[in-house]
């Protein structure tokens, strides 16, 4: 008798446990904080003229859609361009600028600008870590390794080729300027097909 009672009680408890614990609250949506959806590169000719913009936009982040690439125009021969990179997370409204985070961790980040051998252009860094305020210490970095948020492009003869822009997190710093030597993790990488005419 006692066992029967115990069994029914136990079964009842089990049923109650199952019965009570469902709730209909919907989970909260997560908008990924770290995603970089957009890279805007602005190339402004020194001495005036129309700036060229290069954009890679991947609004679904690690979703299936590939990034959309747009290039506003072609570059001129024998011209020096001042370049800047802007990174955005457009899954948030308003879009969040990622530059701030990169600048705050400038010593742990570096952009690499690699033209292929058909593009008659050379790229030089126009900034270093000491230009930025460390998020950790609140004062400017004292090291002077390149970062690449601003850079210059110097074109020579007319040509067509690609310029690959890669952002590495925690690369070896200083490095010899090649991706292989730098290592680290790729946060962003995009090749743009450029025309110099």
């Amino acid at each position: 008798m006692k066992t029967t009672k115990f069994l029914s009680l136990a079964l009842l408890t089990g049923t109650l446990l199952v019965g009570c614990s469902s709730d209909d609250n919907d989970p909260e949506v997560i908008n990924p904080e770290e995603t970089i959806t957009t890279m805007n590169v602005t190339l402004t000719p020194q001495g005036g003229g129309t700036a060229i913009t290069l954009q890679s936009q991947d609004l679904d982040g690690d979703g299936p859609n590939p990034p959309m690439i747009s290039i506003s125009g072609s570059l001129a021969e024998n011209t020096v361009y001042d370049g800047t990179v802007e990174l955005l997370n457009e899954t948030e409204t308003p879009a969040e600028s990622i530059n701030e985070e990169i600048e705050g961790e400038a010593a742990e980040h570096q952009f690499f600008f690699i033209p292929n051998n058909t593009l008659n252009a050379t790229i030089a860094y126009d900034d270093d870590e000491s230009d930025y305020v460390s998020a950790e210490t609140g004062v400017n970095f004292t090291s002077t390794n390149p970062v690449g948020i601003s850079f210059t492009v110097t074109t020579t003869d007319a040509s067509t080729g690609t310029l690959a822009i890669t952002l590495r997190h925690e690369p070896k710093k200083p490095n010899d300027g090649t991706l292989a030597d730098a290592g680290g993790e790729t946060d962003i990488t995009q090749a743009f097909t450029l025309v110099i005419e």
């Binding site: 989970p27 770290e34 959806t37 925690e170 993790e185 946060d187």
Partner: protein
């Protein structure tokens, strides 16, 4: 309770007859507890008296010439546990004594020494004894299980060791931790069982799904961890083990203390702590591979012959660092990692556990009650509760290093009851039911899209198993189980992913909220699974045993197989589940032939496992994102075939020298595409030479050789366009590492002291020659060599 009173009454009812001289007689009958069969040849001794009498073929005995008074009897029988009974003798006193006859039924009552009771009759089963487990005290469950033939592991470094049976792992391998089925997110490749190896007394491995009592979905097999038995006598004992480990420059300590009473009450406490720093490969430090592990359990209850209960709580926490160099950004980083030959990041040795790392906490609570019904059998009822919390920390940008990327909490309640009807001599029947509720909560504070969604899961199962003794030599068994699973999830999909998967064609009605770029969906899926097994065991008196078993089992897809959706930074891959996945069905035929001669013996175990709708995760294509290209690993279903054989042999050369030999081979084929399955263990060959000299303080020395072949059957590599190299490249993610050979030695000595105090010292060296090697089933093989030489010094104190 009633039975208890009844027995007491029986004991106390004196027969007529009064005598003041010592002419009283104690007489009675000894019989089986279950079916009242008289037991012949049982010894009855009066304590403090040299008189021993034996029962005749009717189980009867007589002790003449006793003085009136209270006596304590010790009743023993070759097939039963020894029982003590108090009896008051007055005149001619009659007593009925019931002994538990079936050895395997005695587990709860007697202290089983080295023998481990078999869980099944006809399937392939092996077990690890306490002695072996203690050897692995500083390692993990998966490390110890690899001692058994046919058991391998899928590793992520040295700390995350996921056991695999006959080539299958994860949700296909059930782990029973002291009667509780572990619910610890076993679905992930980089999730190891949340178990402290020091908490187990014995571990049995059933290589297949035939132990239906535990579950119907054990397509790989079942790992049953049990506690050592606690004797029902007044005693206090325990042990402590301390290990010093050279590779990792740390060690562990574990202690267990047990207090038992003759009345059946007992209390047991156990605790362990492990701490290791960075491990080392022969040529470099494996940066960020430290580990910290804490395990503790407390158990108490009352165990009597006729009834008993047991309450247990156990806690497990581990913090595991994951090789820094294995955290990568995209396929170009992966290619660089593979081509480098050594990890990109090698730092000086440290004990610090940095990102990437995992932190897992597991709580387990259990309440169990059992009662034996005279002439019927034993009834068990159990409730258990588990809470599993998993954090995974990635290398993140900004100030997010202390913000977990994965934060999941899995809570499980299980209620189960079964009845074992074993009163009949020739057959035995067991049946039971189970109800389970599980809830997963994915914390949104991670700022990373959920890898596993919030869900609620309901399970119901019912089984019946039976065995029948056909002849003295042949035992047949059979079983049937039904399982119902319902999963009710709330998951966000990226709209682009939803469409890319084609879900907008089939599952549009699951959407409960459209947020533009994301969709909230509510998939509710039901699965009905049926499992059946039958088999036979033929045991000849000459020492040969033949077992044959056929098992059909079905497994419902786990949450990972259904819902995975996103980027795994640790593996630089996008993993995609599929809502269309249905249950997989396995047909496994296994046989075993075991023969023991005077000085040697062998076991041969061939098996074939045919799995319909086998669920597997494989690289299929490449997707481009702004971060570069990523291989896409998709869960898909196919038909698969696993063929394998495990062999083992031993030879006793002289009393002191012995050799053991083991060889395991398994071949996995995707029969739909006629290609090799991924992550199938390579053939391996183990040989061990042991020297024992009991006269020298139980001195034991062994030399072990392990040869692992190259896995020559693997899926093809995939090609992908590399944005960095601006060309198609081969991604060598399926290329297996070369064969390797490892040597190990170990030695042991025992030093007994007074008062049951015993010190055991042992020294073990693994990878003696500091060989450089990589293992196909280690997910970090792309980035770094496996462990170099490791020296473990162990001190064990029994008290």
């Amino acid at each position: 309770m009633k039975i208890y009173i009844f027995i007491t009454l029986l004991l106390l009812i004196p027969l007529y007859g009064v005598s003041q001289d010592c002419n009283d007689i104690l007489t009675g009958q000894v019989m089986d507890y279950h079916n009242k069969t008289p037991l012949e040849n049982a010894s009855i001794q009066i304590l403090g008296n040299q008189k021993i009498v034996k029962t005749d073929n009717k189980g009867k005995f007589q002790i003449p010439s006793l003085c009136p008074g209270l006596y304590e009897l010790e009743i023993s029988h070759p097939e039963c546990t020894t029982t003590f009974i108090k009896v008051e003798v007055d005149g001619i006193t009659w007593i009925d004594i019931k002994l538990e006859h079936h050895l395997e039924e005695l587990e709860e009552v007697k202290v089983v020494g080295d023998a481990v009771a078999k869980k099944t009759n006809s399937s392939l089963e092996e077990s690890l004894k306490l002695k072996t487990l203690e050897q692995y005290s500083s390692g993990s469950l998966g490390d110890a299980l690899k001692e058994l033939s046919g058991v391998s592991s899928l590793n992520t470094g040295a700390n995350i060791v996921k056991p695999a049976i006959h080539g299958l792992n994860g949700s296909r391998v059930l782990i029973l931790n002291d009667g509780v089925r572990m619910q610890d997110m076993e679905w992930g490749d980089e999730h190891a069982p949340n178990i402290d190896i020091n908490a187990a007394g014995t571990i049995s491995v059933i290589k297949g799904a035939s132990a239906l009592l535990y579950g119907g979905d054990a397509i790989g097999g079942v790992i049953v961890m049990e506690q050592a038995r606690i004797p029902a006598k007044d005693t206090l004992y325990g042990k402590s083990i301390v290990n010093g480990v050279s590779n990792g420059r740390g060690g562990n300590i574990t202690t267990e203390l047990i207090k038992a009473f003759e009345s059946g009450w007992y209390l047991r406490g156990q605790g362990s702590y492990k701490r290791l720093g960075d491990h080392e490969a022969p040529d470099y430090v494996l940066s960020n591979t430290g580990v910290q592990e804490i395990g503790a359990s407390l158990q108490f209850g009352k165990q009597l012959f006729t009834w008993g209960w047991d309450a247990k709580y156990s806690y497990y926490n581990s913090e595991i660092a994951v090789l820094r160099a294995s955290h990568i950004g995209n396929i170009d980083d992966l290619i660089r990692g593979i081509n480098n030959g050594q990890p990109e990041i090698i730092r000086p040795f440290t004990y610090d556990i940095q990102n990437p790392r995992q932190e897992v906490t597991h709580h387990l609570g259990k309440l169990k009650f059992y009662k034996r019904f005279e002439g019927l059998g034993k009834w068990n009822v159990q409730y258990d509760y588990q809470n599993n919390r998993r954090f995974e920390f990635d290398v993140r940008r900004g100030e997010r290093d202390n913000q977990a990327s994965i934060d999941l909490e899995l809570t499980t309640h299980t209620f189960s009851t079964d009845f074992k009807w074993d009163a009949k001599e020739l057959y035995e029947l067991q049946f039971g039911i189970l109800g389970r509720f599980q809830e997963n909560f994915a914390n949104p504070t991670t700022g990373v899209r959920r890898l596993i969604p919030d869900y609620e899961k309901y399970d119901f199962g019912a089984f019946v198993t039976g065995e029948y003794r056909l002849t003295d030599e042949i035992l047949v068994d059979a079983g049937f189980r039904y399982d119902f699973n319902r999963i009710d999830a709330k998951k966000f999909y990226q709209t682009s992913r939803w469409e890319e998967r084609g879900y907008d064609q089939e599952f549009q009605d699951l959407i409960i909220n459209d947020l533009g770029t994301q969709l909230l969906t509510n998939p509710i899926f039901d699965y009905h699974n049926f499992s059946t097994t039958f088999g036979a065991q033929y045991a000849e008196n000459s020492g040969s045993v033949i077992r044959i078993n056929y098992a059909i089992s079905q497994r419902a897809p786990n949450p990972s197989e259904l819902f995975s959706d996103g980027l795994h930074h640790s593996a630089a891959r996008i993993e995609l589940g599929d809502l269309r996945i249905k249950s997989e069905t396995s047909h496994k035929i296994s046989a075993s032939y075991q023969q023991d001669f005077n000085n040697w013996g062998f076991t041969l175990e061939p098996y074939a496992n045919f799995i319909q709708d086998f669920i597997l995760l494989e690289p299929t294509s490449v997707e481009f994102t702004i971060r570069g290209a990523f291989p896409v690993w998709e869960y898909r279903q196919t038909n698969a075939r696993l063929l394998g054989v495990d062999t083992a042999a031993y030879i006793d050369w002289t009393g002191n020298w012995r050799t053991d030999h083991q060889f395991s081979l398994v071949k996995g084929t995707d029969t739909e595409n006629n290609s090799a399955l991924i992550n199938i263990p390579a053939a391996n060959f183990r040989n061990k030479l042991t020297f024992v000299k009991p006269e020298w303080n139980n001195f034991e020395f062994s030399l072990e050789s392990q040869y692992v072949f190259e896995q020559n059957e693997h899926p093809d590599n995939i090609t992908a366009f590399s944005p960095e190299q601006q060309q198609e490249v081969v991604l060598e993610i399926n290329t297996p590492p070369e064969a390797y050979h490892l040597l190990g030695v170990s030695s042991k000595m025992e030093f007994p002291f007074k008062n049951n105090l015993k010190l055991t010292t042992s020294l073990t060296v693994s990878n003696l020659l500091d060989t450089n090697y990589r293992d196909y089933l280690n997910r970090q093989r792309f980035f770094a060599d496996d462990l170099g030489r490791n020296i473990i010094l162990q001190l064990k104190l029994n008290y």
